[in-house]
């Protein structure tokens, strides 16, 4: 376990075969507000990697950088050794075909039923005969336990079911990298257990690399090979879940133990409380 690691230091893109994605000194800001200030992360191939951190630390932004939806202001984002910022639209789309992403809300297409949602990437990218598409879709739905829900529409699904359908869709093209954005948010314990088990099983059965963005520390610790904790635009700790549990770092302790106050303050920056209450100044 390291408190201020720099896993990408001195590495060249070509040397990244053991890493599926690497970020080198990434800076990114929104409306002049810095989100990342020199972020370095390396994500190992074939493993389940957890990206954790308090809300608002840019975990989802990190995923958007890896998938090329946004570009870093400075630094490099390498996926399979290729600089995402240097790819043209065609090359970026070719790279994305090898990725699957599970959105926080599933992001299912609401005008298509479950079967057609899973078939969507197959119909868009392949010319497979209908019979084969049917078999692939049913296989993927069976893998997530929802073969029987093929004819339902997204609005007829519970939150957990919608996420499992989205998972089936994201593995429809047999991706090399699966990305999960807050996969456990808002799920009941049973659904959470199902999704948790699926993430690990799919990673091992399909031989893929998984990146899980979450703040559910306890849950993800059961399946992650490696965890990274982000705070204040930087990587503050990395290691296996058991290593992070033993970390003396204050930010890590606050995050893992769920303490309300600490290095990450409870209060948003504000003027002095008493002065504001008693001073009779202008309305904030």
């Amino acid at each position: 376990m390291s408190s201020t690691p720099n896993p990408a230091a001195g590495a060249s893109p070509a040397a990244g075969a053991e890493h599926v994605a690497r970020l080198h000194g990434v800076h990114y800001a929104v409306d002049a507000k810095p989100i990342f200030r020199g972020l370095d992360i390396a994500i190992r191939r074939g493993e389940v990697t957890a990206i954790m951190g308090p809300s608002g630390t840019g975990k989802t932004t990190l995923l958007r950088l890896i998938t090329g939806q946004i570009m870093a202001d400075a630094g490099q984002v390498l996926v399979d050794g290729r600089d995402v910022a240097r790819l043209d639209r065609r090359a970026l789309y070719a790279l994305r075909r090898r990725m699957g992403m599970l959105f926080q809300n599933g992001a299912l297409l609401t005008d298509l039923d479950v079967f057609e949602n899973v078939a969507f990437p197959l119909r868009e990218h392949t010319r497979l005969p209908e019979r084969l598409i049917r078999n692939v879709v049913l296989t993927k739905l069976h893998a997530v336990g929802l073969r029987g829900a093929a004819q339902l529409y997204p609005q007829q699904l519970s939150g957990g079911m919608a996420r499992r359908v989205a998972l089936a869709r994201s593995i429809a093209m047999d991706p090399d990298i699966l990305i999960y954005d807050e996969p456990f948010a808002g799920l009941d314990p049973i659904s959470m257990g199902v999704v948790l088990r699926l993430i690990r099983q799919l990673n091992d059965a399909l031989g893929i690399s998984s990146i899980v963005v979450t703040h559910d520390v306890r849950e993800v610790s059961q399946i992650a090979n490696m965890s990274y904790i982000l705070s204040d635009g930087q990587l503050v700790a990395s290691g296996t879940p058991s290593e992070l549990q033993k970390s003396p770092d204050e930010v890590v302790r606050q995050f893992i133990e769920g303490l309300a106050d600490g290095p990450v303050p409870f209060h948003y920056p504000a003027p002095d409380y008493y002065e504001e209450l008693l001073g009779g100044g202008a309305q904030p």
Binding site: Q69, A94, R96, G100, L109, T110
Partner: protein, 256 residues
């Protein structure tokens, strides 16, 4: 005074920026159109959604606009003893003005808002982002078929509106007010030329492109919040209505 000038300047700059962005968006749609036409089924679905589903409102409004036109025109023509010219006057009014303009306004209110809110909600619920991650261009797969479906629907709806409107004029003028049926139709056939029909359809086509473009642009670029989708829907109706009337003047001046 300086503050007012600065605000005016900022508004003018925003307006030019929006016009530029819309033009670029339109250019991208035009560039994608040849390949988009190959996916004919998607366009037919949108012609059904934007066009066929607007038929009831178009036909109802067309009938009543025609009936009101019949009453007003009859009352006016009666003052000059020219009731027999009712068919000609009503046909020209419907073909050259009322048909294309009212159809475009109704389309913006029914199908335009539906397109904008659908795209805005797809943006707010990450459906468009999900497509991008699946290496599917949402402009090609979602926006283009909706734009083409709308653009194709409006001239067709205009033709339906005009036909039903003429039926309404005939119903009031001939059946209720006693205008001679032979004079009504023969004067119309003798006076209305193919150019008048073409003017209506050209206007309908231009309004269709304009209203569909505004709807898909506003929806696609909506802020991904409930308020953002609502604002996009409102802007679609307001901008489409104003643009339709401005284009109507320009096209009328050109085709006179």
């Amino acid at each position: 005074m300086n503050g007012l000038a600065a605000e005016l300047f900022a508004n003018a700059r925003d307006f030019v920026g929006t016009v530029g962005a819309t033009t670029r968006f339109f250019g991208r749609l035009i560039a994608l159109t040849p390949s988009g036409l190959l996916r004919f089924r998607l366009i037919v679905e949108q012609v059904y959604n934007a066009g066929a589903r607007s038929l009831v409102i178009i036909m109802t409004c067309g009938l009543f606009v025609g009936m009101v036109l019949g009453l007003q025109a009859y009352e006016l023509l009666q003052r000059f003893g020219s009731e027999d010219a009712l068919g000609t006057g009503a046909a020209l009014a419907l073909l050259k003005e009322l048909g294309p303009v009212v159809t475009a306004l109704l389309f913006a209110g029914r199908a335009g808002t539906s397109l904008a809110s659908e795209l805005g909600l797809m943006r707010a619920t990450d459906q468009l982002s999900a497509m991008e991650i699946m290496a599917v261009d949402p402009m090609r797969r979602v926006v283009l078929p909706r734009f083409l479906g709308g653009a194709i629907s409006v001239p067709l709806l205009t033709a339906v509106f005009i036909a039903i409107g003429l039926f309404g004029v005939q119903l009031v003028g001939v059946q209720f007010l006693g205008v001679d049926q032979g004079s009504f139709w023969s004067q119309m056939r003798g006076t209305v030329e193919l150019d008048d029909v073409a003017e209506g359809l050209i206007k309908g086509s231009v309004f269709g492109v304009a209203c569909s473009l505004i709807a898909v642009y506003e929806g696609y670029n909506a802020q991904p919040t409930a308020e953002g989708v609502g604002r996009a829907t409102t802007r679609t109706v307001v901008i489409s209505a104003v643009l339709t009337l401005i284009l109507d003047y320009i096209l009328t001046a050109i085709m006179l």
